[in-house]
C-alpha cells in the first residue's frame, strides 16, 4: 500500500511520541518499530525521521542525549518530556475523532 505523503507526514508526530512514550529510543530503532507495528505498510524514508525528531526537540516535546551504544559509537537517544506526553494525549484525541468519523461513514456505507 502506498500511503499519501501528507498522511505520512501528519502521523509522524503522534507515532514518534507514542513510541518514545513506551521508552527512550533512537532513530533507527524508532523506524524499525514503526515498520514492525504497521506490518511494513508505513515505510518512511529513513532520513526523514531525523528532521521530525529535531523539530520535536526544538519544540521541547522530546529531549535528546548522546550516549554510547552497544557497538561503542556515540548514539543520540531521545526521551519524551512532560510537554510531549501532553501533546501526545491531545493528538490522540484528535486522531480518535478522525478515526471515529471515518469509521462511522464506512459502517454506513457497508450497511446501506
Amino acid at each position: 500500500m502506498d500511503m499519501g505523503k501528507d498522511l505520512v507526514a501528519a502521523s509522524a508526530t503522534p507515532l514518534v511520541l507514542a513510541i518514545l512514550a513506551e521508552g527512550d529510543s533512537y532513530g533507527y530503532a524508532i523506524i524499525k518499530r514503526v515498520a514492525e507495528l504497521s506490518g511494513g505498510h508505513l515505510q518512511w524514508t529513513d532520513g526523514m525521521l531525523y528532521p521530525v525528531l529535531h523539530r520535536l526537540e526544538r519544540q521541547g516535546l522530546v529531549a535528546a542525549k548522546w550516549s554510547a551504544s552497544e557497538s561503542g559509537r556515540r548514539r543520540k537517544y531521545y526521551r519524551i518530556t512532560r510537554e510531549g506526553r501532553a501533546q501526545l494525549a491531545a493528538q490522540r484525541q484528535q486522531w480518535q475523532v478522525v478515526d471515529g468519523t471515518l469509521r462511522g461513514l464506512w459502517m454506513q456505507a457497508r450497511t446501506a
Partner: protein, 456 residues
C-alpha cells in the same frame, strides 16, 4: 550487533559522509546521527545475508535522496541557512527573479525613495525653512512603504496583502500630519521616535509574507533587522567619507557645495541607503552574515562588567540616582540594549546546545540590568509622584515596564535553562513572541498620546 569491518564499505561510508558534509544544512552532529543510522541499517542487512556493497546500496536508498533530505533539514534548521531559505524557498521561485532584475528593482526603489523625499520641497516645505519637523515626523514614511514594496515584489505576495500593508502606512501618514502638534512639543517628538518602530512591524509582515503568525520565522526577521542596521552604519560611514571629499575638493576650486550636501546627498542618501542596505542583506549576506552575533559576544561581557561596577559603586558610595529627563530615556535605552544583546545572542545560538559559560554571563547581564533598572524605576516613580505626568514620562515609563516584563521573564527562563530545567527554545520563543508588543506600544504612543495630552 557486530561492528562492520570491511575496508571497501568503510570507504563508501566515508564518501557518503563527505557528500553530506558539503551541504550546509547538515551539522557535524546530524551527520554523526545519520551515519549511526546507516551503520545500524548496514549491520541488520548484512546479518540478513546481503554482501557489503549490496547492503550499502539498500541502506543509502532507504535513507532517501540527499536533496530531499537536506531540504527537510534546512526547513527544520532554518537558522543555519536562513537567507537561502528566505530568498528562494524552492528552485521554481528562484528562477523568477534573477540577481540582475533584483538589483534594478532595488536601485529603482532607492531612487524613488530619494526623489520622494525631495517632493515636499516642491510645495514649499523646505527642510531648512522651518519645516524640519515635517521631515522628522514623516522621515520613515518616505522610505518604509518602498521597502515594503520591495519585499512584496520579492516574495511575490498577492495584491490583496499589499493593500492590507498599505493601510498602516496611510494611517501613519494621516496621524503624523493631521494632529495639530504644538511646535516642538513633547508629543510631536514622541511621534517622531515611535512611528518608525510601529511601522517596522509592517515591514516584518512584508518580509515574512503571511508567515508571521505561523512558525518560528520571526527570528529571520530579527536577523535581517540586525544585519540591516550594520549595513546601514557601514554605508553611512562611507557616506561621511564621500561628503568629506566633496567638501574638500569643491572648496579647493572656490565653490561651496553645502546646498548639494544638505539638500541632496544627506536626505536622499539616508532614505536610499535603507533600501540598498536591505537589498545587500538579502543578496550578499555571506560577507558579514554573522556580524550581529559577533558584536553580541563581544559586548555582553563588557556590559555585564559595566552594570556590576555601577551597582558596586552605588552600593559603596550610597549616592542615589539624580533623576533628570535624560536619565529616564537613558535607562530605557539600557534595557533596549540588554534586550537586544539577549535577542541577538539567541538568534545565533543553536537551541539544542547545552548551557555554557556565555549563558551564565547573559543571565548575569539580565539580572544586573534588572537590579539597575529597579533602582532607576524607584527614582523615576518618586519624581512622577512629585511632579506629575508628562507625555515623555508616561512614554518612558511604559517602555520601561514593557522591557522590564520581558527581562524578568527572560531571567526566569534563562535561570531554568542554565540549571537544566528548561530548553533554550522556550526562551527564544518568548523573545520572538514578545516582539509585536514593542510595535503595538509604539503605535499606541503615536495614536493615543497626542490627543490625550492635548498635543503639547
Amino acid at each position: 550487533m557486530t561492528a562492520v569491518i570491511d575496508q571497501p564499505l568503510e570507504d563508501q561510508i566515508a564518501q557518503w559522509r563527505e557528500y553530506l558534509r558539503r551541504r550546509q544544512a547538515f551539522h557535524g552532529s546530524d551527520i554523526e546521527e545519520l551515519e549511526g543510522h546507516l551503520r545500524d541499517q548496514l549491520a541488520a542487512l548484512t546479518e540478513a545475508g546481503l554482501a557489503g556493497d549490496e547492503a550499502f546500496l539498500v541502506a543509502v536508498k532507504r535513507m532517501g535522496s540527499l536533496d530531499a533530505l537536506s531540504r527537510e533539514f534546512a526547513r527544520e534548521h532554518s537558522d543555519r541557512l536562513w537567507k537561502q531559505l528566505v530568498i528562494g524557498p524552492g528552485p521554481a521561485e528562484e528562477s523568477a527573479h534573477t540577481g540582475y532584475t533584483e538589483m534594478l528593482v532595488a536601485l529603482g526603489l532607492a531612487v524613488a525613495a530619494a526623489l520622494a523625499i525631495k517632493v515636499p520641497a516642491l510645495f514649499g516645505l523646505r527642510p531648512d525653512g522651518g519645516a524640519e519637523m515635517f521631515y522628522f515626523r514623516n522621515g520613515s514614511l518616505f522610505v518604509l512603504p518602498l521597502l515594503a514594496v520591495y519585499f512584496i515584489w520579492k516574495r511575490g505576495s498577492p495584491a490583496s496583502s499589499a493593500l492590507w500593508l498599505a493601510l498602516p502606512f496611510a494611517a501613519g501618514a494621516v496621524l503624523a500630519n493631521v494632529f495639530p502638534f504644538r511646535a516642538h512639543g513633547d508629543t510631536e517628538r514622541l511621534t517622531v521616535l515611535h512611528l518608525p518602530i510601529a511601522l517596522w512591524l509592517v515591514i516584518g509582515f512584508a518580509y515574512l509574507r503571511n508567515r508571521w503568525f505561523g512558525d518560528g520565522r520571526r527570528m529571520d526577521f530579527v536577523r535581517f533587522s540586525g544585519e540591516l542596521a550594520i549595513y546601514y552604519v557601514l554605508i553611512g560611514l562611507g557616506g561621511i567619507v564621500l561628503i568629506g571629499f566633496t567638501v574638500m575638493m569643491f572648496k579647493s576650486i572656490g565653490m561651496n557645495p553645502e546646498w548639494l550636501i544638505g539638500g541632496w546627498l544627506v536626505p536622499c542618501g539616508m532614505v536610499g541607503a535603507v533600501i540598498i542596505g536591505s537589498w545587500l542583506v538579502e543578496a550578499k549576506q555571506s560577507v558579514i552574515e554573522n556580524m550581529a552575533p559577533v558584536l553580541t559576544r563581544l559586548f555582553t561581557p563588557l556590559f555585564t562588567v559595566l552594570l556590576l561596577a555601577f551597582l558596586g559603586t552605588m552600593a559603596w558610595t550610597g549616592s542615589p540616582i539624580d533623576v533628570k529627563r535624560e536619565v529616564l530615556i537613558g535607562f530605557d535605552l539600557l534595557l533596549v540594549l540588554v534586550v537586544g544583546l539577549v535577542l541577538y545572542a539567541a538568534s545565533a545560538r543553536d537551541p539544542q546546545k547545552p548551557p555554557d559559560l556565555f549563558d551564565f554571563l547573559q543571565l548575569l547581564l539580565v539580572a544586573s540590568a534588572l537590579v539597575v533598572d529597579g533602582v532607576a524605576l524607584a527614582a523615576i516613580a518618586a519624581r512622577i509622584t512629585e511632579f506629575g505626568f508628562t507625555p515623555n514620562r508616561v512614554a518612558a515609563l511604559g517602555e520601561n515596564l514593557i522591557l522590564l516584563v520581558n527581562l524578568t521573564w527572560t531571567a526566569w527562563l534563562y535561570a531554568r535553562f542554565v540549571r537544566g530545567r528548561g530548553s533554550f527554545a522556550t526562551l527564544e520563543g518568548w523573545q520572538i513572541t514578545y516582539l509585536p508588543v514593542y510595535a503595538v506600544w509604539a503605535a499606541l504612543v503615536v495614536v493615543v498620546f497626542p490627543p490625550v495630552f492635548g498635543y503639547r
